[in-house]
């Protein structure tokens, strides 16, 4: 009902009320009305009970019938209600006028509701989006630790790169000498190993006198990928002090990766050692001893072997005798590179005396920059004391 219609009825009711007042003053009551009114009025107890709202519902409706038509009783009720100050003597009786669905919906979108609902919804949306963004962050950071392009490359190249040539004639290509650090980053990962590499590991025929200078780590490196030494498989160390430190999550991932790698490398190196031992022993022993070899291959490593394997990866060997002395010279293999003792220096077997060397002093700024750029060299330098000549990426470095 629009406002105009409401005003029309409102005006008509006001006019009707005035008309009734006029009639009161003009004609007075009829005798019948007078008698009826006295007997029909509510008594004081009924009036008070109604005003205080303590009547049962049916009684209340009954008295309301009288009050709607009796001005006198209505007046008393009004006075009693005002005297008690009862704003709502029947607080539980408020009827909820039936509203249409659209009216209720319109009430939800009223300005008074929207004034608070809209900011609340906006705040909830902002919080929800922030939580989603924060949850996605750990994944992205973890993904950032994986170096694309250096992992899981097929080891077809590895197969062709099996270094079976003698050390003196070795002319290793860059692809054959991946650095240990690359292996550490790669081996522990769940990357597919090519059947070829597996074949190399398991079925490579080893002839007598053949020096298998490659360790399990080297094979892993070959099996892992086409080692691009220009692109280390892990994030390079910061080149300057101003470089931001690596995120802590990277360190955590490195620790986990290291742990996984160490377990795998232990097994591989154990296998390699057995093959090396097999190489040392005559092949005719392989027949009756094959079973023993196989048993050895399957036997768990003892602590000495484990220490040796661990030392071969990271630190100086605890066992000083861990060197090939088949040729009567001290040789050591570090990060897949073979070094022979020449006087007080450890010389890379890939080094040729005619090659020029770059002199680098230990502890110098040049040395620090070199090992920062090439951590593999740093690993070699840390394991070999004294003077070291290492061939790295086509250049020969003399580290003193």
């Amino acid at each position: 009902m629009n406002q105009v219609n409401k005003n029309e009825v409102d005006l008509m009711l006001r006019a009707l009320a005035r008309r009734v007042d006029e009639l009161h003053g003009q004609d007075g009551p009829t005798p019948e009305a007078e008698t009826r009114s006295r007997s029909a009025h509510l008594d004081a107890d009924e009036l008070n009970s109604f005003a205080e709202g303590v009547l049962p519902e049916r009684a209340r409706v009954r008295y309301m019938e009288h009050l709607a038509d009796c001005e006198s009783c209505r007046g008393i009720i009004v006075e009693l209600t005002q005297a008690t100050g009862a704003a709502a003597p029947y607080p539980t009786r408020e009827r909820q006028d039936k509203e249409s669905f659209w009216q209720k919906l319109a009430a939800l979108f009223s300005p008074s509701v929207l004034r608070y609902a809209v900011p609340a919804l906006a705040l909830t949306a902002v919080i929800g989006i922030s939580l989603l963004a924060l949850r996605q962050k750990p994944g992205t950071e973890f993904v950032a630790q994986n170096q694309p392009g250096d992992v899981g490359q097929p080891s077809v190249a590895g197969k062709s790169e099996t270094p079976v040539a003698p050390p003196s004639n070795a002319a290793p290509s860059a692809t054959q000498r991946p650095d240990l650090s690359a292996n550490i980053a790669e081996v522990g990962k769940e990357k597919p190993k090519s059947p070829a590499s597996e074949g190399v590991l398991a079925d490579a025929p080893i002839t007598a006198g053949q020096t298998v200078t490659t360790s399990g780590l080297e094979r892993d490196a070959k099996a892992a990928s086409k080692a691009d030494e220009s692109q280390p498989s892990y994030a390079p160390e910061p080149k300057s002090a101003a470089a931001p430190p690596p995120p802590p999550r990277a360190a955590v991932n490195d620790a986990d990766t290291m742990k996984m790698k160490s377990e795998q490398m232990l097994e591989k190196e154990a296998r390699d050692r057995r093959q090396e031992e097999y190489q040392i022993r005559p092949r005719e022993e392989s027949g009756p001893n094959r079973s023993r070899t196989e048993r050895n291959n399957n036997a768990p490593l003892n602590n000495r072997q484990v220490d040796g394997l661990l030392a071969s990866r990271g630190g100086p060997r605890k066992d000083k005798n861990d060197s090939n002395s088949s040729n009567g010279t001290d040789t050591r293999t570090i990060n897949g590179r073979s070094f022979r003792r020449e006087g007080n220096a450890w010389v890379d077997t890939a080094y040729e005396s005619s090659r020029a060397t770059t002199k680098v002093a230990r502890g110098s700024e040049q040395f620090r920059a070199l090992i920062a750029d090439e951590p593999g060299i740093g690993a070699i330098a840390s394991q070999l004391s004294g003077e070291v000549i290492v061939v790295w990426k086509g250049r020969a470095y003399r580290i003193r």
């Binding site: 009902m1 105009v4 006019a15 008309r19 009114s37 009970s49 001005e71 007046g75």
Partner: protein, 317 residues
């Protein structure tokens, strides 16, 4: 039936015991002295409208009686002077305040208050020799203070009627008269000074018929709706005050009034179309015309009422 009666009597006795236990001062009353009062109250307010009320409802009703007030009144009825003294001391201020509200001056208020105590104590003597007073009408359902205010108000009205020789009648008779009036007594049409007498007569006739239809529609409203209309339009209450009488909030009262307007309009249209033979366009046109005229007639009056209300508010301060 006897079983039902016995059951109810048992409920009354148990209720009286609980009531005495609740009262802070039982005035040495016994169960037997309270049972008749409880029975009267239950029959008056509960069993009259619901004769088959369940025992639980009866128990709840009895447990909501005002224990202290009822014990005090019953003790006064039994002639307990201590109780009577207590009644006067506790409620003389209430009676005096109510008398002052119902009277125009202080002297009249004092007379009224004294009359009240006489009425309460009862100067008339019953057949059994015991004084007859209004105390017997207190059921204990409402508060004693409110009951005393109602007694004062009724007595004030009775005295006023006696003095002015005017009896307030039920308004139904007034509505009946409006409905039965001829068109010549109706002033709804509102003369606009139109020169055309036919138009003027037709307008007057329309006004009469609309007035009758509206009066009849008002009588056909539900009791609660009719009470709201009477309180707001005929008694001049504000919506907040009218809502307080009905026990609802002002906003609720406003919504109900809006709905009543719609119902009344629809009912008036129905009466005019079905009983008076009007057409729909005619009723709509008549509403517009009447509203225009009434607005012209009522606006000065409403303005005057507004001025008076402002003055009253100033005095009330």
């Amino acid at each position: 039936m006897n079983q039902r009666t016995d059951q109810i009597e048992k409920l009354f006795a148990e209720g009286a015991s609980r009531l005495l236990a609740r009262a802070t001062d039982a005035h040495s009353l016994s169960n037997e002295s309270l049972v008749p009062r409880i029975r009267a109250a239950v029959e008056k307010y509960l069993l009259r409208d619901d004769p088959q009320a369940v025992p639980t409802t009866i128990e709840e009703f009895v447990d909501k009686l005002q224990a202290d007030d009822l014990c005090l009144i019953v003790a006064c009825e039994q002639g307990n002077q201590t109780a009577w003294t207590d009644l006067v001391e506790r409620f003389s201020a209430t009676v005096r305040s109510a008398a002052r509200s119902a009277s125009s001056n202080e002297e009249g208020a004092e007379d009224l208050a004294q009359s009240i105590w006489a009425e309460l104590y009862g100067l008339r003597v019953r057949e059994d020799g015991k004084p007859a007073g209004k105390l017997a009408y207190y059921s204990g359902r409402g508060s004693l203070a409110g009951w005393l205010r109602a007694v004062v108000a009724q007595l004030a009205i009775d005295q006023h009627r006696k003095q002015s020789r005017l009896v307030q009648t039920e308004e139904d008779s007034d509505f009946d008269r409006i409905i039965g009036q001829g068109h010549e007594e109706n002033n709804w049409s509102g003369s606009t000074g139109a020169p055309n007498p036919e138009v003027e007569i037709s307008r007057k006739l329309a006004g009469v018929q609309m007035q009758k239809a509206l009066a009849k529609s008002v009588t056909e409203l539900t009791a609660e709706d009719r009470l709201l209309v009477k309180l707001y339009y005929f008694d001049g209450l504000r919506l907040r005050e009218a809502g307080a009488v009905l026990g609802v909030h002002e906003a609720t009262a406003s919504r109900r009034l809006t709905r009543i307007h719609a119902d009344l309009r629809q009912q008036v249209e129905s009466i005019l179309v079905e009983e008076q033979g009007w057409t729909k366009p005619e009723t709509e046109r008549a509403f517009s015309d009447i509203a225009v005229h009434l607005e012209a007639d009522i606006e000065p009056l409403l303005a005057g009422d507004a001025v008076m209300m402002k003055k009253e508010n100033k005095i009330a301060g």
